[in-house]
Amino acid sequence: MPIDEKERLQARIRRIGAGDVVLVRPGVTSESLTSHIAGVILQPNVPLFWLTMFGIGIIALCMFVIAVAILLDVGIGELGTNIPVGWAFPIANYVWWIEIAVGGSLLSSILHLTNQKWRNSINRIAEAVTLAGIMCASLYPVLHLGRAWIFYWTLPYPNTLTIQPNFRSPLIWDVFGIFTYAAASVLFWYLDMIPDLAAVRDRAENRIAYLIFGVLALGWQGSSKQWRMQEKGSLLLAGILTPLVFTVHTVVSFDFAIALVPGWHSTIFPPYFVDGAILAGISMVSMITIALRSAFSFENIITDQHLNNLGKIILTTSVFLFYIYCFDSFTNWYGGNPYEQYTDRFRVFGNYAWVFWTFVAFGIAAPQLLWWKRNRTDPRALFVISLLVVIGMWEERYMLMVVSLSHDFMPSAWANFAATAEDNALLYGSCGLFLAMVFLLVRLFPMVPLHSVRQLLPHAQNGGAIE
């Protein structure tokens, strides 16, 4: 897209905003922005907040490592998983993390394509969330295996047995889905970051930082040719990522929808999963954004307007989720399938009713507070609501596993599930992994995309006139 075209579009957005839309506060210049962002990376003294969060993450991560070692040594009998509940915590965690990952992808792809400029300043944070989320998510399908050390048998590789994976199995689709998604996300994150890496390189005061960022910047000079290629590449990757946002969650939902378990076997699952993913993902992005914004004083580039927009997405998707639940129940009632109907009743009134109602309270009711703009722009309110949503969405995944599996077709096989210490260690441990990853990423790499935020600066718009 030619630059002038872009500017025209941006001007239009600003007009629509009519003074209300403040994506960059006054006083921010190209220079101050760069020193602010690069400073976070290059300064030797790390802020206490960062240390605290990273420390918590590392401690939890240690617990995770120990838990994984026990799991591999003793066996997955350490988990609470049983027959009939063959999938419980690990798969719930997996779906949850992959949902959280989508927040970043949504911002970098769809909002990129639709030219939502407000996304620029929080894009990188969102992508850190994506990368960390994918990393956490991708561990579970391996860890939950009875024989994790041969997980690669699910990959189509040439082998002497001449056996290929079963392409009818949604788990195989999932393998492809996750790998594709992870690859595209990493590429996008990196490609978008190259100019910023160069900016950091240029400001590096010691040789090691200079070398590292120099290599990572791939010789970026900021020539217009490079800019054009980078823009094109980003756009192209955004185009690839956009369908992936939908397909990866569609494929994840197939892990369930393809099975005939009541509570899983439903055609509404793909949109349901995509919507749930956006809800959880954007909530996590909000939380991290709000935290970093206050920790690194980014109020001038991550404004209330960003929070407002994130809040709107959370609100919309939660309402849609409510609709999906209503519609699914209606279909089950109208369809007259006694097994599905039983599962619906069991979900709402059965042994695990508390899980369902927690989900409803946290995942659907709490976001309704975001109808008020006051709550959307109040970082504390949005943080709390986002946190509730993230917890509620985990409860929902837990419910999806345990409620459906524990009481399916044969009443004689019904049994309840109880989590073990190992289950909890793996869940909270992965939160540690996530925290450590996110904070490592924002520490080591520019956490705000300088080049695209610069485009939001006034001098990049109307000839430098300050608003």
């Binding site: 295996l145 009875g146 393809i258 099975a259 077709f409 004689s412």
Partner: protein
Amino acid sequence: MSELITIGENPVEASRRRFLELMGASIALATGAGCTRPPTEFVMPYVTPPEQAIPGVARYYATAAVTNGIAEGVIAETHLGRPTKIEGNPRHPASLGATSVLSQASILDLYDPFRAKEVTKNNETASWDQFTVELHAALEPIRKANGRGLSLLTETVVSPTLGWQLQRVLEQFPEARWHQYDPAGPHSSRKGSLNAFGRYVNTYYRLDQANVMLSLDSDFFTYGPASTRYAHDYAFGRKVRGSNTQMNRLYVAESTLTSTGGKADHRLQLKYSDIGRFGVELAAAIGVPGVAAVSSPRFERIIGPLSQDLLANRGRSAILVGENQPPALHALVHAMNAALGNAGHAVAYTEALETRPENQIESLKTLVAEMNAGTVKILLIINGNPAYNAPNDLGFSDALARVQTSIHFGLYHDETSQHTVWSLPASHFYESWSDARAFDGTVTILQPLIERLYDSRSEVELLDLLVEMPNRASRTIVRSYWQQQAGAYDFETWWRKAVGEGMIPASSLPESQPALQPIDVGSLLASDSGIELTFRANPYLYDGRYAGNAWLQELPRHITKLTWDNAIHVSARTAERHGLRHQQIARIKVGTQYVEGAVWLSPGQPDDSIMVEFGYGRSRAGPIGTGIGFDAYRIRTTTGLWHVPNIEVSNTGATYPLATTQMNKSQHGRDLVVSQPITTYQRDPRFAQKAHPQPSYNDTLYPHWEYPHYNWGMAIDLTACVNCQACVIACQAENNIPVVGKQQVLFNRWMHWLRVDVYYEGDWSEPSARFAPIPCMHCENAPCEVVCPVQATVHSSDGLNEMIYNRCVGTRFCSNNCPYKVRRFNFLLYADWFTDQLKMQRNPDVTVRSRGVIEKCTYCVQRIREAEIRAQMENRKIQANEVKTACQQVCPTAAIVFGNINDSASEVSRMKAEPLNYGMLTELNTRPHTTYLAELRNPNPAITNYAD
């Protein structure tokens, strides 16, 4: 038996030689020594190979499994000298090719690594030689005193050889005493027959000749030496096929819900103390002489139609009575059967099976008195565990301390051997020669299946030690006894035939028609108003002797599906009234003694009636059996053997989790186990298929399977299934299925490939029950196959859903997607890979699974493949009913039928063509290869409120 013994012998002969040659050659090459000298150091062939021992080909030997001294004829499958699996002996009257649970599980007892392995004196290692020398030294003064001071305590002796030996001991030691005690033996039967006939007789039933059966608290499908046969005869009297709608009818009055009661066409739930009254009222109604007419409004509804039904089937009915019921009721039942003309038809009488029937409680009392008086110098306890299971008021353990030379001989170092000076390891009955009688007197000569695992002796050898010097081997003793008895001109031929066939022909005891004496029913009319306590032997651990058998510990109890524990069974109403809570510990007080155990709310338990089982609370039963459950013997006295009125019960408030394999026993209206009265069948034979419609063949995205040669399938007749669960244990033994322990059962990770589902029907305070064995359904459109990412479960060209353990990565998606939930997962390393004895039991044809893989019913694929190979070598097809799965083979009622659906001559095709045939959850279009024949019941139309 000859056809069994010669299977596959000749064709393999050539290849075995070839195999050995190749083995020799390859080892010679490998050692590089083949050219210069014979590699004798490295090769370990049989120096003298046993005749006909072919690696990989099983051999079969007839013998018997002995429970309570009474035999069930079995055929043991052995691989290279290791017995691995017990099958029924088709010619044996107690077996007819099937076996009971206990016979199936007996193979594990043989290999139990915690058996007594050595002679101990005062808990220190000794030897048989030392024992022999010291025994004879101790016997010397006693011999001089004509045997005074020598006492023997045995279990019930039925074995002819053992009986003969005991006679000889008593000849040599005329003043020695011989006592018998079996805690859960037929005390009431003995006394009842004494009351009714003035002498001890043996009663058994021919249920195939009964149109109407009434059980008074008799769980005859589960307990007793003929349970396998009774289940068979019952089931074959009610197999409805096509237009044959003849069915027998079973009435059960019982004090706790049992399999027998669950199968009853009419079940009457009564307190133990009311069953006697019910019996008396019924006896009056059918006109038993000497029973005055009594009637109460309680039983009016049923007594009238029931007595009509019985009277209409004179000579074609049978009344059975539970061993736990009082002798007076046993006597009354004899009188009722006589009044109905059943004696000699469905009810048979013979002389007592036992060598010396006696009142064992009195016998034990006398012994304890003598022990306390100090007149017992040598006490030889042969099997049995009286220190654990003698009635508590006798104080057996204390008395034992007063005996100078106490000797315990048994399979285990147990509670009793802890108190005795000597503890002698006994041989398992699969390790030595012996003999035993079946329920009708038929004699089986037991032959050893394996060299003794430890330095043990058999009971006949032990007794021989008392009378003969030097002692002889068990074979010589048993042979010498039968040499006298056989009277055959060619003993060797007789012996070979008797041992080979697993029974001595025509050795059953002759029937007699004992004359009735007047009976007194007065004691039966008393009823009590308080809470009563009833005892039962645990169906699997029996009196506690099998507590070390992990298979039996983990086999779910028939109705409750409890494992690894006994419980205090109460009805919900009684629990509420007395503040008892499910899975909380309650205290039962009898006199000054009490026990504490976990409460289980049992539908089908009468109000104000508490049932507890013996067999638990062992303090010395190896790592498997020690310290689980509670010991009900502590509140058992000589006056309250089976029933204690007016007990106290209270809740302690402590919780105690009980491990069950089936948490939910309501069908939730899903009608998976379809059951209807016969009248429904007469109106609409295809009612079951209508309940489970089959979607069109084309309702799937995937191509149809074609089964060009064989198409294996199974049909299960739910009318015939009596929930004995022998199939579960048979499957476990055949397929090397591990046990997981209580904790893992609590996690719902038990491993049985085949389970028997139980559902309550009707009013849960007085329910009927539905039973359905659930193996893998081997679906054509198998939901598991589609979702496995690595193709570890795939469809075979002969209709099997196959599981490839080596390929399995353990996603468990297949289990999630299995609507029948028949797949089991090795969450941990459940199989014992390290204990040598247990390795010997394993079926060499079946993989021992490792951690992290799914397993499930394979339709005993190893048996199919074996038959395939056999057929191929003989250049033929597998015959119609040639392959039998383990569950099918053991099933006493032939409820499980397996075979080739493509072959219209096969039994399974005929079953599947029945209008009753339906598939579970067929509406999911899984197209199961295991289908069911809906259950039919035959309620008396005159009894209107048939629950269903």
